[in-house]
Symmetry: D2
Subunit: 306 residues, 4 copies
Amino acid sequence: MAIVLGPNQYGKAQNHLVRVYRDTERHQIRDLTVSSALRGDFSAAHTVGDQKDVLPTDTQKNTVFSFAKEKGVGAIEDFALTLADHFIAQTPVADGARVEVSETPWQRIQVDGRGHDHSFVQAGDGVRHTVVNVDGSGADRRAHVVSGFSGVTVLKSTGSEFHGFLKDRYTTLQETDERILATSLVARWRYDAPYVESGEVDWDKSYDAVKSLMLQRFAEIHSKALQQSLYGMGEAVLEQHPEVAEVRFSAPNKHHFLVDLSPFGGENPNEVFYAADRPFGLIEATVQRDDASDPGSAWLAVPGFC
Amino acid sequence: MAIVLGPNQYGKAQNHLVRVYRDTERHQIRDLTVSSALRGDFSAAHTVGDQKDVLPTDTQKNTVFSFAKEKGVGAIEDFALTLADHFIAQTPVADGARVEVSETPWQRIQVDGRGHDHSFVQAGDGVRHTVVNVDGSGADRRAHVVSGFSGVTVLKSTGSEFHGFLKDRYTTLQETDERILATSLVARWRYDAPYVESGEVDWDKSYDAVKSLMLQRFAEIHSKALQQSLYGMGEAVLEQHPEVAEVRFSAPNKHHFLVDLSPFGGENPNEVFYAADRPFGLIEATVQRDDASDPGSAWLAVPGFC
Amino acid sequence: MAIVLGPNQYGKAQNHLVRVYRDTERHQIRDLTVSSALRGDFSAAHTVGDQKDVLPTDTQKNTVFSFAKEKGVGAIEDFALTLADHFIAQTPVADGARVEVSETPWQRIQVDGRGHDHSFVQAGDGVRHTVVNVDGSGADRRAHVVSGFSGVTVLKSTGSEFHGFLKDRYTTLQETDERILATSLVARWRYDAPYVESGEVDWDKSYDAVKSLMLQRFAEIHSKALQQSLYGMGEAVLEQHPEVAEVRFSAPNKHHFLVDLSPFGGENPNEVFYAADRPFGLIEATVQRDDASDPGSAWLAVPGFC
Amino acid sequence: MAIVLGPNQYGKAQNHLVRVYRDTERHQIRDLTVSSALRGDFSAAHTVGDQKDVLPTDTQKNTVFSFAKEKGVGAIEDFALTLADHFIAQTPVADGARVEVSETPWQRIQVDGRGHDHSFVQAGDGVRHTVVNVDGSGADRRAHVVSGFSGVTVLKSTGSEFHGFLKDRYTTLQETDERILATSLVARWRYDAPYVESGEVDWDKSYDAVKSLMLQRFAEIHSKALQQSLYGMGEAVLEQHPEVAEVRFSAPNKHHFLVDLSPFGGENPNEVFYAADRPFGLIEATVQRDDASDPGSAWLAVPGFC
């Protein structure tokens, strides 16, 4: 028996970068948090402490900030791909790189009915994410892009049922055809390999459209379970977005319990609810094409989805 | 020397209540977190463990949920005042009550350009708060209302300077006439006593107008310091809102440091910034009328402002 | 009516400082988070943006780190007092200063039954705090020291009752003579003015003794309510520590609900509990000497206790 | 092309359970947070909203609390395995179950030099975790146990170097042979399949020994990089614990930057440090036996390690 180094990666996490575009008086800003990591045969650093193959995490940080000027910051997917390819090229023993970018959305402050030129307020309707994994370089290069959002909290005050479920001796839950359905949605979708390679995806446009469509379907679907709502949301995305190979959801069922007002002589026709914190149902589901490209390392270290 | 009980209060904190109005198919929801507390001579409970004067915190919780049906939930200030008066009336030794309500805003999900009837998404642009303190009842009753918001993060990408400051041997900061100004704003304002007593304030309307005005002034003011921006924001509120007696701000100066790209051969004309977490400047200021009503217990236990 | 500047303060919050003492091979470390703030007539900065009276928060930060070397870091109360006096002296219009220091405790890692010379692990049994408020300087100087801890979570699995309480139409709580009592305790105590002025308090020793005594009394007291436990803990401190003028507690009642196992044919003789998050009871109480020194600004901006 | 359901699981997350053993006057407590999830062919629930195969998450919650009485709570690994097997047996379409248990450690409060019978204080030196994944039942059953801890923050004030690293045009980091090394360690180790199946592992004893050994090795190793420290820690565990097949670490490099005191006329011989929050280096590494059992689904949804 020998003891050996197994899977590993290292990098600089959570570089908080704000890029201002001031080409005209009407400024634009992009607010990113960038994490990079390299993987490969870094055995020497682990077993004997030899750093000759290790591009320091401090250098990775410098590169992130310098690229924000040199290459510019457009869609976060492009920025992440550029960084990943660069880090692989700079680090001979690296056989893969992972770059995660989260973007906090900002809106212009309204003054007299018009968005201000250089004053902004955080929008707060969720954070946009991408995790890019690149394996190899040159002819062998394979790039994976998984994008999505977190922190989008939605609620339906009617149009949600839950009944007909499996029962055993520990089941006390009552069946219902009228409840509140709420979740703080995390969604991630993998872009299909040919679309990633073609470089033709308009990432910003695709993100906005997929997010809007998911919210719309959540609203429209009469829900027999959170699972059904999620599936319908993912199905709509796959039907309308050929660039998306699969969609994954992680959705806490934020329980809203009807308060029993009968001790106080009151009725409660689905009007007063206690919103509980823990425990919560947690539904995780994937909706995919049966002919989708192989995911490879696409989901490697995607928080909450591996 | 004797050992005695000093100031005290007790209650139930963070009742998370969602109230659905379903009178028509177009539902409305209000999402509140309610904390109540009673103060007075509760010596027996403390010194000998006798609970005869203590209305249990569990009862306070029940009352919050039951009142959401019995009295309804309109503006959070009205709901808090109703609860405070009730708790004082129910608890003979209580000479005061504090009720804090925070409201999470929701928007309708857009479907085909129109807000959906019963599907909502959290807006995320800050949380609305009120802290109501009522002393006594009947002719001696005195009610205080302090309202405001937290979690409103704003940024100006230009129009901000900082120079001409006091220097000593520990000063290394460079003066600048061009920087990013950003803060995660917490604001609270106290309603003037006659307006509270008259019952004539339209709380929802006042809240929306004050918040919008603060954001507008933040955008418009060319800032020589965060202090100056805050003062100007408070001043505008007092000029346009006679119902407001004073405004208080707690504003972390979220530093955005210009990244030095010269080691990499680059320039950085105010385009690439590192957004730091800690330490941060913290500016706290009050703007008030010199003839405002006496605050009394208004600011008692207002988080961050006492 | 005129609009004027009211109470205000500004400073640098949360300087995270680690001081290593390496005079011998057996190192010592102190891990502090320091926040400073100045108050006084800073009207010019607010109303016209003139910074001539403003010692920048960046300078305050530099001073904190430089004093860690120049003056050394002993007890956090001494470090805070030294900084507060310095800032008042450096800033002519300042009439007061507030310095808050939190200390994260570390223990030596055990190797072969002995604490290692230079390797440490965080202890995790609460954070030590002090808030120092100094008004004026020279003959008029008045210094206030409020120390304490947060994050000390304690639980009694028996020896706790709750009954005999006031009831109204919203009361459904059952009386009990057997329950779990648990809280995540925050305690702060004010040192008596003559002791602060004499400079004779051994802050580290006093802190350790007061904290231990509070835990011991929590354990020993057969509790008829959390209020009674807190009062007894404070009373013991005042009896044994003449240097302490008053003790304040903020204690969330972390409810542990007995789970009803009867639907599954089981009994539950106080063995299986559900630990709830929200809502929670919140008990706040002061135990004081009736002849204690005047608190003055001692409790100004002490988080959770004003 | 068809759209189909892919990998999925559902369950009840974060049941906070406190189990009191009161067989004698000297009580014992175990404080667990339990999350369960089932995976399998739950297509009907997703595609048409038919719940006939779905054991509700509410039933899973009830089972967790009831089993705490029926089966008792010993080592968290045993409790998790028992629950996982039960859920698979109760749910015909489930082909696998995942049960995660986190345990918060408590110590007895010291009174007169002795631990109290029924009063406890949270220890705070990290949280113990296990994630159990069971596939199938009967002859085909395969059980995986991954245990570990989080929140163990360690620091070496000397005995750490970092030099000889790869450089490129973005490298500005200075080499050093003297720095602070600190991390908030997350460690997970997989138990070897034969040991899991034999039922012979003393989980509590193994956990305590592995954790102590890791801390000891962190202290003893003169570090040329965090990677080397981690590898040495894992190697020692594998050498001394045949029951462990592999060890994985996720270790943020908590940077402590030496403060430049030269502007203030001071020297800083590794005494005063600024402890930064973000960005941070993040080192993730696996140390494994080259003949270890196949991990299968062992690392499925282990937070931070997949």
